[in-house]
Amino acid sequence: MSLSNYQIIEMYKTMKRIREFESKAMELFGEGHIPGFVHLYMGEEAVATGVCSNLNEDDYITSTHRGHGHIVAKGGDLKYMMAELFGKATGYCKGKGGSMHIADATKGILGANGIVGAGHNIAVGAGLSAKYKGTGQVCICFFGDGSTNQGTFHESLNMASIWKLPVIFVCENNLYGISMHQSRHQAIQDVADRAVAYNMPGVVVDGNDIFAVYEAANEAINRARNGQGPTLIECKTYRHRGHFEGDPTTYRDPEEVREWLNKDPIHRLFEYMIENNISTEEEIQRINEEVNKEIDEAVRFAEESPYPPLESAVEDIYTDIVEEVRVR
């Protein structure tokens, strides 16, 4: 692995940015400032960060309902994200999408998605596009273990494999499909085993070890860029919070939660950085403060932004039909 200290520090910063963005979102949701649902990514930061650290700005990702981490890691702007969570006009989607539907085409973010498993097919389309145009771009398809039981998983891995598309399927196995433990929702322990059926490499990595994720993604992305087709990477990880905020998580053993909290990916990287003299506690403290400042600014931006004007409700349904939709 040939990561520079600078790159490692940047990775730490990205993970911290995701964590603090979500800590704030959790707090604001609890206080009633954020409407709707919030599905937190906390605990899985090493996956999005480790994978996206390999990407160029024009590479694509598809994301999920638990998408904040992917979007931050792909370069999403915290201000527009937070404003979207608030339902404000300045949000990424002008307040029409919310937490589950953030996209930024200029950064290759093809959208978080409220339908479990729907991103798989879209990722294949983006991969086809890149391959057809010969751009060398790749598409990362992020998804959870739960979605691997959707038909779309099978359809997409099959299609990506027969066409050797530059798509990397990154499964964030956090052990639960909503409340259902993996042992109850599928008859295998390693989702990566399913890669065999598509004649593509299936790799299992510790999803809380950012370097393991980075390396696996690096290899898969290189393969994809070289025309060797897709890879299925399974990252074993854990969400610190429930499926959504407000989920009582009675289905999880508190002992299991404690064990995984001890494997916190950000803390692990912090210790690695100190032990290997990559950074100092003071420098990391300074980074933490910088991140907190960014989050505060994002919240201020969201709070001070206006709600969308009512007339915007019927805009953006089509590129060219607006007025006739106004008639109730």
């Binding site: 029409k96 996209a103 959208g111 097919n121 389309g125 086809l128 779309t152 953006d316 349904i317 590129t319």
Partner: protein
């Protein structure tokens, strides 16, 4: 001008645009060497090769989803579903993805894509290969729906469907594939949302779609022998719907019958009827009537199928009842 079939017209519309724009690709089951289940893509693979006329596995959800992803990233895909009945297998990708992405993402993503849907009864293909499911599509904001009834309309609407920056559902009636007619290959695209008056008349307006346009025209010519002059309007685009042409006709005739091949309950014919009831009440001399298929799955046996689907005689009966 060239004589071509409805099926050829669809193909030649695609060919013309594909020659102009390398970003247009075709995706679907057996669309390549095989030429499409109904032969519509035909020899396009010879002109454009297997990268652009791409056979897919039997995975309707992935065909539509792949088109969505490709459209979001700069291509202009045309997806072929072998039968419109199979849209049910890929409905999430149509309804929750294709139709919603632009809106949910605040206009940040544009999806220029066409989904071709061979539609309708009359091929003795029974309940899972004969439906007319256009109302499923017109119900969903974010989709446009076109339904040509002649080779010329098929050609002109294919051009504009491909040109459109929104997901366009292109319904094509299987029984019409062999129908031939004059098509000007240099014609301008037929804009979406513009109806065509297929026959002028003073006594009653019939609004018909797809194959029912021809049943209505047949009925109209027979009624004419009895001195009854029926106006036949083909909306050609179901959404956006050309209300104006419909309203103008009703202002003249004061009577209207809507004829579609859909099962009647929850049909798009009902939507047209509701629009007319809301907007044209003062111009109506009789309640709006609908002639549709019976509320039954399409049966296999030819005698039963022909009974369930409306024909010119059902239309004549409805007209005589109204006058």
């Amino acid at each position: 001008m060239r004589k071509m079939t409805y099926s050829e017209a669809i193909r030649e519309g695609m060919r013309r645009r594909m020659k102009e724009d390398p970003n247009i690709i075709i995706l679907g089951e057996d669309v390549g060497e095989f030429g499409g289940c109904f032969g519509v893509t035909g020899d396009l693979i010879k002109t454009f090769g297997p990268e652009r006329v791409r056979d897919t596995p039997i995975s309707e959800g992935a065909i539509i989803g792949c088109a969505v992803g490709a459209a979001a990233t700069g291509l202009r895909p045309i997806a072929e579903l072998m039968f419109n009945d199979f849209m049910t297998v890929g409905m999430d990708q149509l309804v929750n993805q294709a139709a919603k992405m632009r809106y949910m993402f605040g206009g940040k993503i544009t999806l220029p894509m066409v989904v071709r849907m061979p539609t309708g009864a009359g091929t003795r293909a029974a309940a899972q290969h004969s439906q007319s499911l256009e109302a499923w599509l017109t119900h969903v904001p974010g989709l446009k729906v076109v339904y040509p009834s002649t080779p010329k309309d098929a050609y002109g609407l294919m051009l504009s469907s491909i040109d459109d920056d929104n997901p366009v559902m292109y319904m094509e009636h299987k029984v019409l594939y062999a129908m031939s007619g004059e098509v000007d290959e240099n014609m301008e695209p037929i804009p979406l949302g513009v109806a065509d008056v297929k026959r002028e008349g003073e006594d009653l307006t019939i609004i018909a779609t797809g194959r029912m346009v021809h049943e209505a025209l047949n009925a109209a010519s027979k009624l004419s022998q009895d001195g009854i002059e029926v106006e036949v309007i083909d909306p050609r685009t179901l959404y956006p719907l050309d209300n104006k042409t419909i309203f103008n006709s009703i202002e003249k005739t004061n009577k209207v019958i809507i004829v579609t091949e859909e099962t009647k309950r929850g049909s798009y014919a009902g939507e047209i009827a509701a629009i007319i009831a809301e907007e044209c009440f003062d111009n109506l001399d009789a309640p709006v009537a609908r002639v549709c298929s019976l509320d039954s799955p399409i049966p296999f046996s030819p005698v039963l199928e022909d009974y369930v689907v409306p024909n010119f005689q059902d239309i004549i009966n409805a007209v005589k009842k109204m006058l």
